[in-house]
């Protein structure tokens, strides 16, 4: 099998904490061409899906809040590559990318966005509240930070049941100041629960920058009070994410307790669809788009390393476009939920 000549970059600040030493991630030989291509495909699927979701929102087909993941794709795709299907994943309301990365069907996700019966929650949850027992995706939570104790509880259940599964608990820089996050971290460290806290630091909690919200902005060090190791990762580089993710997952799976990864990433779109984004400059957004884009970055790697040519990547693009078009079609034609659904799923056996 062809081996790519890539050198993943793990960006980490000099740790004043007692974080474990940072390794440089997997060597050049640890990532196969097939894996790289699958990451490209997964990231592109999320990008195109989200662009289409934005379009359907603009057409009035998607209502309410809709938080797009564009720009952050390398985080979920890199992390997903480090876990097995039996591990649990949970996140906040910027969740479409996580669901697609977990292998949930684009049609079911898009149909939930349009509030149709073919959606993962039968149209009753919407953008922020989707789940898949089948894929061990536990939501999709609308209250900032609430998923963190829940994700810690999933890790508790794993440990209680004696298995080796871990819980990937994602949250944003905005959640990183919520009290319940620290309550959960304390218990996770106290009881050595197999949870990986993935902080997606996209630099803005809605319109407030990290610097304006957090007294200390090295979020990977926020577990130090509990002795939780952490590291800062270039979240725009899928291989850097993967390398750090492997360290974190190994740590948690070995029974050593929780681990924090601060992913430095960026969202290109607003906090939600109705965000005019006046709190940051166009130059800042353009700089990330043009110089740091995770998909462009991987595309260039694939081509430079001779692992794929333009034609092959174009075929992937066309294939993804079809998947997304089919999802959008399905989401517009799946019927609205039957009025009787108002009264279902409130209680079991009632």
């Amino acid at each position: 099998m062809a081996k790519p000549a890539v050198k993943p970059k793990v960006e980490s600040l000099p740790a004043k904490s007692k974080s474990p030493p940072k390794s440089s991630g997997p060597g050049d030989n640890s990532v196969s061409a097939e894996e790289l291509k699958s990451y490209y495909r997964s990231m592109l699927l999320i990008r195109r899906f989200e662009e289409r979701a934005g379009q359907l929102y603009g057409m009035g087909l998607i209502g309410g809040f809709c938080h797009l993941y564009i720009g952050q794709e390398a985080v979920v795709v890199g992390m997903q590559s480090t876990i097995s299907e039996k591990d649990a994943v949970i996140t906040s309301y910027r969740d479409h990318g996580h669901m697609l990365a977990c292998g949930m069907a684009p049609k079911g996700v898009m149909a939930e966005l349009t509030g149709r019966s073919g959606g993962y929650s039968k149209g009753k949850g919407g953008s922020m509240h989707m789940f898949s027992r089948d894929k061990n995706f536990y939501g999709g939570h609308g209250i900032v930070g609430a998923q963190v104790p829940i994700g810690t509880g999933l890790a508790f259940a794993h440990k209680y049941s004696g298995g080796k599964n871990v819980s990937l608990t994602y949250f944003g820089d905005g959640s990183a100041n919520q009290g319940q996050v620290y309550e959960a971290m304390n218990m996770a460290a106290l009881w050595k629960l197999p949870v990986i806290y993935v902080i997606e630091n996209n630099r803005y909690g809605m319109g407030t920058s990290v610097e304006r919200a957090s007294a200390t902005t090295e979020l990977y060090r926020h577990g130090e009070a509990f002795g939780i190791p952490g590291e800062r990762v270039d979240g725009m580089d899928v291989l850097a994410v993967r390398a750090a993710g492997e360290r974190a997952v190994d740590h948690a799976r070995s029974g050593a307790g929780p681990y924090i990864l601060e992913m430095q990433t960026y969202r290109y779109r607003g906090h939600s669809m109705s965000d005019p984004a006046k709190y940051r400059t166009k130059e800042e957004v353009d700089k990330y788009r043009n110089e740091r884009d995770p998909i462009d970055h991987l595309r260039k790697r694939l081509i430079d390393a001779g692992l794929a040519d333009e034609a092959a990547l174009k075929a992937v693009d066309a294939d993804i476009r079809k998947v997304v078009n089919d999802a959008a079609e399905f989401a517009q034609h799946s019927p609205e939920p039957d009025p009787s659904e108002l009264w279902t799923d409130i209680l079991i056996g009632a």
Partner: protein, 456 residues
């Protein structure tokens, strides 16, 4: 085939906007994610990105045009392989219809009662088997122990539940029998450990979460309501949350306002929860076993003053009570007195006093606040034609308020007098012994209320 780009809505309320600026011109190639134009509303200026790729064939709306309606075609793209000149002749097509349907008529609602009504069944037969005289505290412990012996996925967590045996000694002996894996002392972090318990329930376990008192559960309210109660619905039935939240509720004795509050109506308000409030030791045991076996989140409201009171409890380890059924504790024909938790005892005292005065009161122990056993109460009112509700909590928007409304809806023609509410006074509970007594319902208040509805 050519592609129409439509004027987007940038918020749920936007209907039109100004096309402020084009970033592309006819003949330009457009890629996904590329900014093609800027639009303005009274709230914001925003960039519109292309979703589809192609070459710009027509710009249909001139830069600077105001009042462009959402979904108006603004641009035509020639798709790959299509000639721009062909696409330039394309007539744009607006989408057929808005996707969202008009408001539908409400689905056939269940019974008018807002909380689902309990299923009808005959009055509970008196237990005729062997009984044992134990305290409410022991009954709660026995219920947990019996269920934990049967199912390894059940565990107890909370502050001081393990080594200390519970702040009120409810979990005596459980650590010794089940070990520290299943009887877990938590740090004092209600919000955190409640969320952790909910996560464990999502993950397949059956947690019993003890709150040292329900006053402290206010710290965890978001996890109880938003995470535990709603996720089954919001997931279209995929996620389940079999969890019991239990602990003492209401006033203890001389602990003042922050530690003395009845949360019955708070929780009873919420669809997706079951809410139980036992009075006797038999209630405590039978209902807690039912709560643990129930696949839904259950709020189990105990009472600190009742912990030490003793009652006869069936010895049979299979004894269990149905959720959603009230119990007629004392049959009578002149007035119905409805109470729950510690107020059942006060109501029975009042009934004895009333009997001396020639008023034969029927006392109903609600036991379940959600679902609510409207039927048992309506049947009683059909017999007595008079109703007094008793609760320790505040009167406004309380359980008594709900009971009054239900009687208007279901028993109006049988009432000979307006429903009378006996409740805690509408004040934070004071510390001073005399004031505390004045603020909480006493049996004398119930007697007076019964006189009022009986015109005596």
């Amino acid at each position: 085939m050519s592609i129409s780009v439509l004027m987007p809505a940038l918020s749920p309320t936007m209907t039109e906007g100004k096309l402020a600026k084009w970033h592309v011109k006819v003949g330009d190639a457009v890629k996904s994610g590329q900014v093609i134009c800027e639009i303005e509303t009274d709230k914001a200026t925003m960039e519109v990105e292309a979703v589809d790729e192609g070459t710009v064939a027509q710009l249909l709306v001139a830069e600077g045009t105001e009042g462009v309606a959402v979904n108006t075609p603004i641009c035509i793209l020639a798709a790959e392989g299509e000639s721009v000149s062909d696409a330039a002749r394309t007539t744009p097509v607006a989408p057929v219809a808005a996707a969202r349907s008009e408001a539908q008529p409400p689905a056939s609602a269940p019974a008018p009662s807002p909380a689902p009504a309990a299923s009808a069944s005959a009055a509970e037969p008196e237990w005729t088997g062997k009984t044992t005289h134990i305290t409410v505290r022991e009954a709660l412990r026995d219920a947990m122990a019996e269920e934990m012996r049967k199912d390894g996925n059940i565990f107890l967590m909370g502050e001081e539940v393990a080594q200390y045996h519970g702040a009120y000694k409810v979990s005596q002996g459980l650590l010794e029998e089940f070990g520290e894996k299943r009887v877990i002392d938590t740090p004092i972090t209600e919000h955190g450990f409640t969320g952790l318990g909910v996560g464990a329930a999502f993950g397949g376990l059956k947690p019993i979460v003890e709150f040292m008192t329900f006053n402290f559960a206010m710290q965890a309210m978001d996890q109880i309501i938003n995470s535990a109660a709603k996720t089954h619905y919001m997931s279209g039935g995929q996620m389940t949350c079999p969890i019991v939240f239990r602990g003492p509720n209401g006033a203890a004795s001389r602990v003042a306002a922050q530690h003395s509050q009845c949360y019955a109506s708070w929780y009873a308000h919420v669809p997706g929860l079951r809410v139980l409030a036992p009075w006797s030791a038999a209630d405590a045991k039978g209902l807690l076993k039912a709560a643990i076996r129930d696949p839904n989140p259950v709020i189990f409201l105990e009472n600190e003053i009742l912990y030490g009171q003793s009652f006869d409890v069936p010895e049979d380890p299979d004894f269990i009570l149905p959720i959603g059924k009230a119990k007629i504790e004392r049959a009578g024909k002149d007035v119905t007195i409805v109470a729950f938790s510690i107020m059942v005892g006060k109501a029975l005292q009042a009934a004895e006093e009333l009997a001396k005065q020639g008023i034969d009161a029927e006392v109903i122990n609600l036991r379940s606040l959600r679902p609510f056993d409207t039927e048992t109460i309506v049947n009683s009112v059909k017999k007595t034609n008079r109703l007094v509700s008793v609760e320790e909590g505040w009167p406004f928007a309380g359980i008594g308020s709900e009971l009054s409304a239900l009687m208007m809806e279901h028993a109006f023609d049988w009432l000979d007098a307006p429903v009378k509410r006996v409740a805690g006074l509408d004040v934070p509970l004071p510390y001073a012994a005399n004031l505390e007594k004045l603020a909480l319902p006493q049996s004398s208040n119930i007697v007076e209320a019964a006189h009022a509805v009986c015109n005596r």
